[in-house]
């Protein structure tokens, strides 16, 4: 009797000791969440956290404000204006500098700016997690290399936006300009404060990442869809970065390497059958020009920076629209018009592509601009001509040899071709930083006030945005630009 009891309890004791000491018992996660381990897991993660991610409608990375600050947008003037329809983007339209305070009493825009800062660093964080994990990610070599390369590429793209929004424009005369953005390439969570890096350090990081990405994607030998990077996409971004850095040879060379892989330019001058057909052809996935597409706004038709309601608060500026020839197919391809306002089309679920794209046309323009700087005017003109012939039915070719006007023409073509693809603001600040005037009707105390004039002066310090206040508060090491609130003139 006693022995059987002893055995029984002994067995139970041993059993529980075994279970207690067994780490596996505790290794079960508490809920349904998953720990990424394989290439497939991390690819899903990069899809959901990187540039392909679904932007949530109420607070995420917003980049539309970049175009609000250019001359491509103007206020809609109409009799039946409801004050709400201008939406939160009017602070950007009036270059408030301190974006936490609204000039009139519309919803504070600080969220937009701060969410963008946060959102870009979140992309970087996701990329850092992957690059830190590196070879430890389970899966086949080729898949892992492709993934790692994409993480480097995505991080470079995020830093490109960060440094061009909040870092001062690159100035070769002031290479030590410290007003870049904080640089973090580690996934470790820190509760310490990173200061701003120099502008050039950020660009160097971008270049390093792009070179690494290129190495990985070439070694992997893997090709994917336009929703992922590719050698052509890396070359195109490399050429753009070098263009921003005024490395004309590299800019031209990388654009050329991109075009070696993908040179297609869609001929848009052929008669179109329907509006929707055209829409898909210009911005949709079927367009052979698209090298890479990113920024997935699931609700792009709302286009909230142009205001809400039936009458939009803002419109594509007549100044921009005037630049297009009447036979320019981009007019109908890029814009909707309801006789009061003109707003840009973006692609969406029907077109099979995301909002913004890398296209071959940019490579032609990058090469043309670099060549113009290098004095290779003929080469530049050849690229320009080719592009125009695909866009405008009856091209009025003006073969200017003058280098100044050639550059101007190229930049104008760039403005027209890449409109509302987040290029214009960056192009302005890296080139001439011209003076811009915006007219704006404020609403104060629910009363519509007379129209006011806001001016962004030539080389205005407002060409660099002030880091959003919550970010400054959370990181005292960040040096603000110290801009004043902008008042109407």
């Amino acid at each position: 009797m006693k022995i059987s009891h002893l055995t029984y309890t002994g067995i139970l004791l041993i059993a529980t000791s075994f279970m207690s000491s067994c780490r596996k018992y505790l290794d079960t996660p508490t809920d349904n969440s998953r720990t990424p381990q394989t290439v497939a897991d991390y690819t899903e993660m990069l899809n959901g956290e990187g540039w392909n991610r679904n932007l949530s409608p109420d607070g995420d990375l917003f980049l539309y404000f970049l175009d609000m600050m250019t001359a491509d947008v103007e206020e809609t003037i109409g009799p039946a204006q409801s004050f709400d329809e201008k939406g939160p983007y009017s602070a950007f339209y009036t270059w408030q500098n301190i974006y936490d305070i609204q000039y009139d009493e519309r919803q504070s825009p600080s969220d937009i700016l701060n969410n963008t800062w946060l959102g870009l660093y979140r992309i970087i964080k996701a990329c850092n997690i992957i690059t830190d994990k590196g070879e430890k990610i389970e899966g086949d070599l080729s898949g892992r290399q492709f993934l790692l390369g994409e993480a480097h590429f995505s991080r470079a793209l995020a830093y490109y936006y960060l440094v061009n929004i909040w870092g001062r424009p690159y100035d070769p005369a002031n290479r030590a300009d410290s007003m870049g953005v904080p640089l973090s390439v580690s996934s470790t969570l820190v509760n310490t404060h990173l200061p701003r890096s120099t502008v050039i350090a950020v660009y160097n990081q971008i270049l390093e990442d792009l070179n690494t990405a290129l190495k990985y994607v070439q070694e992997s030998g893997k090709t994917s869809s336009i929703f992922h990077y590719s050698p052509a996409a890396v070359y195109l971004l490399l050429s753009r970065i070098h263009l921003y850095l005024r490395h004309w040879e590299q800019a031209a060379a990388f654009a050329g390497q991109c075009l070696e892989i993908r040179s297609a330019l869609q001929d848009n001058t052929t008669p179109r059958t329907s509006m929707s057909d055209f829409y898909i052809r210009m911005l949709g996935a079927a367009n052979p020009e698209i090298i890479y597409t990113f920024y997935n706004d699931p609700n792009p038709t709302a286009f909230n920076n142009f205001g809400g309601g039936n009458g939009y608060g803002f419109s594509v500026s007549s100044d921009l629209l005037r630049q297009y020839d009447s036979t320019d197919q981009r007019l109908g391809g890029y814009y909707y018009s309801n006789n009061v306002v003109v707003i840009p089309k973006t692609s969406g679920i029907y077109s099979g592509a995301y909002c913004f794209s890398f296209r071959t046309s940019e490579a032609y323009l990058n090469r043309a601009e670099a060549n113009a700087h290098l004095g290779e005017n003929e080469k530049a003109l050849a690229d320009l001509d080719l592009l125009q012939s695909r866009r405008v039915k009856t091209v009025t070719r003006s073969r200017q040899i003058n280098r100044g006007t050639l550059l101007e023409t190229i930049l104008l073509e760039r403005r027209k071709e890449l409109a509302f693809q987040l290029h214009n603001w960056f192009d302005l600040r890296r080139t001439t930083a011209p003076s811009i005037t915006h007219y704006f009707t404020p609403v104060i105390n629910q009363q519509v006030r007379p129209r006011e004039r806001f001016v962004l002066k030539k080389n205005d310090p407002g060409y660099t945005l002030e880091i959003p206040a919550p970010a400054l508060q959370a990181n005292p090491a960040l040096k603000p630009l110290g801009l004043k609130r902008r008042l109407p003139l």
Binding site: T43, P298, P470
Partner: protein, 1218 residues
């Protein structure tokens, strides 16, 4: 040798004790002896019999009892004797002749001793006695100990006991839940002992859930509450019954709804992100709540928790005893689970050697419905006067349509649509109608409780069986809760040393409550000039709806949905059901005298279902999904574009299934040798708790058509699908949570001469919610404690009077806490398919944060237990200091991390407190007893800032107002308020800091809020306690219990509803506004704003249907105030700010007469023939008296503003023992 080792026939009795060296004599006969016994004559014939048999024969014939050493007599040979009519003396002489034995008579006892024995012969007496309670009911299994000797026995079923002691012995009689009583034998042969119930029971054993420990060997801080001392017989759940019972256990109710769990804090708060409630342990098994709420909800003092108390399903009648473990020394064995203290519940057990005892109890409680009495609300006439004034001043009355009431008639009369005579007649009608909404929406609540239990046992088994039924109705209409519960406990004792037991229990709780309507709020805020019925028909009216800003749509007032409160309540309901099942098995095996193996196996599951519905004809559905329009109207296209659901209702359901198990094994060793006592315990434990939750949300619900959604045509009503897309609500969703722990633990108790006692505990825990990815999975906790029985020092005890005691206890320990946060490693969501690329996308749910560590709490506790005047005054004074550090707090991070807030071990909390528990027996006479008792505890909590920088811990304005903000240096539960800065010359209130713009440097959100909000005081009482008195005369007893809560603040009921100073016609007002600002200059004499037009404009988010946080004044007001918008998000609706301002906060300190109880017992003197053994009846009054700030005007200071106060109630019941 007299003390020689002997085998005793009374084996079973003695084996209950731990003492192996028995020195008992065989007791032959148990009857008292008469003085002339030895001269009694008798005849005896024995032949070749053993001498003991001869003695037995003598005893049988004469009744004389002999004491002798069995072993010694057995050594003798057989005897033969024949004597007729001889005196007993002579017979004995003959018997013992030449045997070397003699009979010594002393104190009426016959002791047979060796003649040549010159050893010390302690004189002994054989006594018997009966242990009863104050009512004369026998107490079985009471422990009787001869003081100073290792000599004890237990009372039997009928309370009888027999013991052999020295004639001058003092017997100590103890029984669970009774005061230990000392009785001097003083040569008496029969001792009737009546035990008095303990105020708070001083127990023989301290239960800590892992082991039992003799009270004298425990140096920990444990308070025990016996079931008998729970006086609130009207309460149906144990947590509410414990209010005021234990110093340091603060029970704060925040709802009077049946089944609502109170908020419990034991010695303050030791965590920020984790659950702050103590854990509940039932029969050794940690019981988790049937529904897993997140910590923020559990901790919120406003969140009403109807079904997620761990003790749901436990019938208080099945509880034997409750132990509250307070300091580290008592809780260390619970490791990570114990940071907030432990409440241990021991349920009733069967009693061995007991005939089945059947107990039936019945209770009925009537809770009186609320009334306008004490509430300073306007009656119909006052309210109509106000309306007249508003209409005469042409102030905007309502955003919508006027209800069919006085205001409409008056407007009609002013517009000439009605004759003066007709109007005056109507006015008189309204005045005399004076609708009593409390009468319409409330009845007297009735609670009934029936409980039947059977308790008994035999030689090897014991059992306890019970069944209970409880029903609780009201006081609000459509409010009901029910419970069926059952328990079966059995223990089996097959052979010495082995014991096994099983306890099965189950309960079914159901509840039904109004959904989306609060009858108390409605009655409180609805005008008494508004009719409930017209021409015997319920009157429906359009309640003033907020002025929604909806795209491109102006409300069609002819389509507005109408409202009647009772119809609304009829057509919507929340129903809850919780079914719990629990099984606890244990097996204990004692072997090799000092070793004990203990196995405990707990299994449980619960199914909780919370569902609510609202049908399409409710106003809730109309306002939530149809912009306030009636169902199935011919809507315009613009309306259709904004309507989510044109017809059908809403059904929501959350079903949670919980499963848990606990496996525990331990090995214990205990030894008492000479002056040393050692007890050692080591064991391990495995625990899992799993929750499967499924949610269902049906929009387009028709009650007759099952649980299916019938959506409107998507082409006409696109908002239906948008609603799901944008609100994030999923029609169905399933979640799983699984928490696992494995632990090792050990305990060491050492005591020297029972005077100096040391306790050590250690435990090591691992948990799956913290073990993953590089975090140290194993964490230790430990504690050490010492106790000194001061008056037992030989130097002192020589002079000390009996029973005085002073024990000094000190303990220090280290606890680790663990908020059940999600895994600390990197984790990603389940993938979703991107509609454009078609690829899988997953988002990061949790970032890797390897720096996180467990929360730590260092607890120091010092206490004195004392007892004076022969136990008439006794009590405990304790002081503690709980210092928690590395607490997980959500703090702002540099945004360059990719997210702006995260959990870090940054915060600390200090809790200091003093607790006093005192009992004093003022009168102790045969017929009269009067006991008084007091419990008082003071707790101070302070948040320490470790290393977070401004703005520190994140908070928004709602968290400031509700006291959920965590700020360094302050109390954790500090509530904030807008700083009222007086009325301006237009009679509008002004507040500090809202519009201040003249900053040289833009302030941070935290700085801005710090200027806008002022700390208004704690929301949890600083001092919590009770006073009670118990007066007994024979079988009558009168109990009075006062609950005391001091040192905290409460917000007054809202003065303005609907965000406007001008009430809408259906809204009642407080009579306080009669002292309002009426003309410029009044601002100097009053702080009540004028009834002026200052309607704020609500901006509604049409999807979330919640006010957008950003409010605006109308243009006129803006000009009045000459201000601009606030710098940061801030409600600027000034009536709401006024409600939440510092002048609307009062001191909530109060004293409540919780219980006034009269009890009468009808004991039936027991010869076992009567059907009833005892009957007791009681009548109680609850919550009849409240001493509190006058400004509360009928509001309950304990409960959040706007909730139904605790109403007076009357309870009567009986308990019958068969």
């Amino acid at each position: 040798m007299y003390h020689s080792r002997c085998h005793v026939k009374g084996w079973l009795h003695l084996s209950r004790t731990l003492y192996r060296n028995c020195f008992f004599l065989l007791v032959i006969c148990l009857l008292p002896l008469s003085a002339s016994a030895q001269s009694m004559r008798m005849s005896i014939h024995v032949k070749h019999k053993h001498i003991t048999q001869a003695l037995t024969l003598i005893t049988q014939k004469t009744g004389i009892t002999f004491f002798y050493n069995t072993e010694e007599l057995n050594k003798l040979g057989l005897v033969s004797l024949r004597a007729d009519n001889e005196t007993v003396d002579n017979i004995l002489q003959l018997l013992l002749k030449d045997k070397g034995l003699q009979v010594v008579r002393k104190n009426g006892l016959h002791v047979i001793l060796p003649i040549n024995s010159n050893a010390y012969n302690p004189p002994v007496v054989n006594i018997s006695g009966r242990i009863t309670d104050k009512n004369g009911m026998p107490l079985a299994q009471a422990n009787i100990v001869e003081k100073g000797r290792r000599n004890n026995t237990w009372s039997n079923d009928s309370g009888m006991f027999h013991i052999t002691v020295s004639p001058d012995a003092i017997l100590q009689v103890s029984f669970l839940g009774m005061q230990t009583t000392s009785v001097a034998v003083k040569n008496r042969a029969f001792l009737p002992v009546s035990l008095q119930p303990a105020f708070t029971a001083i127990n023989e054993v301290v239960i800590n859930g892992y082991s039992t420990l003799k009270h004298q060997y425990s140096a920990a801080s444990v308070s025990t509450v016996s079931a008998a001392s729970l006086d609130r017989k009207d309460q149906l759940s144990i947590d509410n019954m414990l209010q005021g019972k234990v110093p340091g256990l603060a029970i704060n109710r925040n709802s009077t709804s049946p089944g609502a769990a109170p908020k419990i804090r034991l010695r303050g708060t030791a965590t920020l992100s984790g659950n702050r409630e103590p854990i509940w342990v039932i029969d050794g098994i940690i019981v988790d709540a049937p529904v897993k709420l997140n910590a923020a909800n559990i901790n919120s003092l406003d969140d009403v928790n109807l079904m997620s108390s761990p003790v749901t399903g436990l019938n208080p009648k099945d509880i034997k005893q409750i132990d509250i473990l307070k300091d580290a020394a008592s809780t260390a064995l619970y490791g990570v689970n114990s940071g907030n203290g432990v409440i241990l519940i021991t349920t009733r057990n069967g009693a061995p050697y007991k005939k089945p005892e059947i107990t039936f109890s019945q209770m009925t409680n009537i809770t009186f419905r609320p009334s306008y009495h004490h509430l300073n609300l306007m009656d119909a006439a006052q309210r109509m006067g106000l309306s007249k004034e508003i209409i005469d001043k042409k102030l905007p009355l309502s955003n919508g349509i006027l209800p069919d009431g006085f205001e409409r008639d008056y407007t009609g009369f002013l517009n000439g649509n009605m004759s003066r005579a007709r109007f005056e007649q109507l006015e008189q009608d309204y005045r005399s109608m004076n609708t009593d909404w409390f009468n319409i929406l409330f009845n007297n609540g009735v609670t009934q409780n029936y409980h039947l239990s059977v308790n008994g046992g035999g030689k090897k088994t014991a059992y306890y069986l019970s069944a209970g039924y409880t029903s609780e109705t009201g006081p609000a209409i459509f409010t009901r809760a029910r419970q069926y519960s059952g328990m079966l406990g059995a223990s089996y004792h097959p052979i010495p040393g082995l014991q096994a037991g099983i306890k099965l229990s189950g309960a079914s709780n159901t509840g039904s409550y109004p959904y989306q309507t609060d009858p108390y709020q409605y009655a409180y805020h609805t005008a008494r000039s508004l009719p409930y019925t017209r021409q015997q028909q319920r009157m429906y009216y359009p309640p003033a709806s907020p002025n929604w800003s909806v795209d491109n749509y102006v409300m069609d007032t002819s389509q507005v949905a109408l409202f009647n409160i009772v119809s609304e309540m009829e057509n919507s309901r929340t129903r809850t059901s919780v079914n719990t099942y629990r099984a606890v098995m244990n097996a204990d095996w004692t072997f090799l005298r000092s070793f004990k193996l203990h196995g405990l196996y707990g299994l449980g599951s619960s199914a909780a279902n919370n569902n609510s519905y609202a049908l399409e004809n409710t106003y809730y559905i109309a306002s939530r999904y149809r912009m306030g329009l009636g169902p199935d109207m011919p809507y315009s296209d613009a309306a259709k574009g904004n309507i989510i659901l044109p017809s059908g209702g809403e059904y929501q359901e959350t079903a949670t299934r919980q499963y848990y198990y606990t496996i525990r094994h331990s090995l214990e060793y205990s030894l008492k040798a000479h002056a040393h006592y050692i007890q050692l315990l080591a064991g391990n434990e495995l625990r899992q708790s799993k929750y499967n939750t499924s949610k269902r949300f049906i929009l387009g619900y028709y009650p007759g058509s099952g649980l299916a959604a019938y959506p409107p045509p998507a082409s006409e009503y696109p908002m239906y699908n948008n609603f799901f897309t944008y609100s994030g609500i999923q029609p169905t969703a399933q979640f799983m949570d699984k928490y696992r722990q494995t632990s090792w633990y050990g305990m060491l108790v050492y005591s020297y001469k029972d005077r100096y006692t040391l306790n050590f505990n250690i435990r090591q825990d691992g948990a799956n919610y913290f073990a993953l990815y590089g975090n140290k999975p194993w964490q230790k906790t430990w504690s050490a404690a010492a106790k000194w029985r001061v008056l037992d020092e030989p130097l002192i005890s020589r002079h000390k009077k009996t029973n005085n005691a002073i024990d000094i206890r000190v303990s220090y320990g280290y606890n680790i806490g663990l908020p059940e946060i999600k895994s600390t490693g990197l984790s990603i969501s389940n993938p979703v398919q991107d509609p454009i690329s078609g690829e899988s996308q997953a988002t990061i749910v949790n970032f890797d944060n390897p720096g996180l560590c467990w929360e730590k709490t260092y607890v120091f506790n010092a206490g004195i237990d004392f007892s004076f005047f022969d136990n008439r005054l006794y009590g405990t004074v304790e002081a503690y200091r709980k210092r928690s550090r590395d607490l997980l707090a959500n703090i702002n991070l540099a945004e360059e991390n990719g997210f702006n807030a995260g959990m870090f071990n940054t915060a600390g909390i200090i809790n200091n407190g003093i607790e006093v528990g005192l009992q004093y027996q003022v009168i102790r006479r045969r017929n009269w007893q009067w006991n008084i008792a007091a419990n008082i505890a003071v707790n101070k909590t302070r948040v320490l800032q470790n290393n977070f920088t401004d703005p520190g811990i994140i908070g928004n304005q709602q968290q400031y107002l509700s006291g959920d903000i965590i700020k360094a240096g302050g109390d954790l539960n500090t509530m904030y308020a807008y700083k009222f800065t007086g009325l301006n010359s237009q009679g509008f209130p002004t507040f500090r800091g809202i519009y201040d713009r003249d900053y040289t440097v833009q302030p941070t959100v935290a700085q801005y809020y710090a200027n806008v909000f002022v700390p208004a005081g704690r929301r949890i009482p600083l001092t919590d306690g009770s006073f009670s008195s118990n007066l007994k005369y024979r079988n009558w007893s009168l109990t009075t219990v006062f609950l005391v809560k001091l040192g905290y603040k409460q917000r007054l009921n809202n003065l303005y509803e609907n965000g406007a100073f001008v009430p809408n016609p259906a809204e009642n007002m407080s009579t306080a506004i009669e002292k309002r600002w009426k003309q410029p200059g009044d601002e100097k004499i009053t702080d009540i704003p004028g009834v002026n037009a200052q309607n704020g404009l609500y901006l509604f988010d049409p999807i979330a249907m919640s006010p957008v946080q950003y409010y605006r004044f109308d243009a006129a007001t803006m000009q009045n105030l000459n201000r601009t918008t606030p710098l940061y998000l801030m409600s600027t609706l000034s009536p709401e700010m006024y409600n939440n301002s510092d002048i609307r906060i009062v001191n909530a300190s109060h004293i409540r007469l919780s219980t006034l109880s009269v009890q009468r017992n009808f004991p039936v003197p027991g010869n076992g023939r009567q059907l009833f053994k005892n009957i007791s009846c009681y009548a109680q009054l609850h919550d009849v008296l409240l001493l509190a700030d006058k400004r509360l005007n009928g509001q309950d200071p304990e409960l959040p503003p706007g909730t139904l106060p605790r109403r007076p109630s009357f309870t009567f019941g009986t308990e019958i023992n068969f």
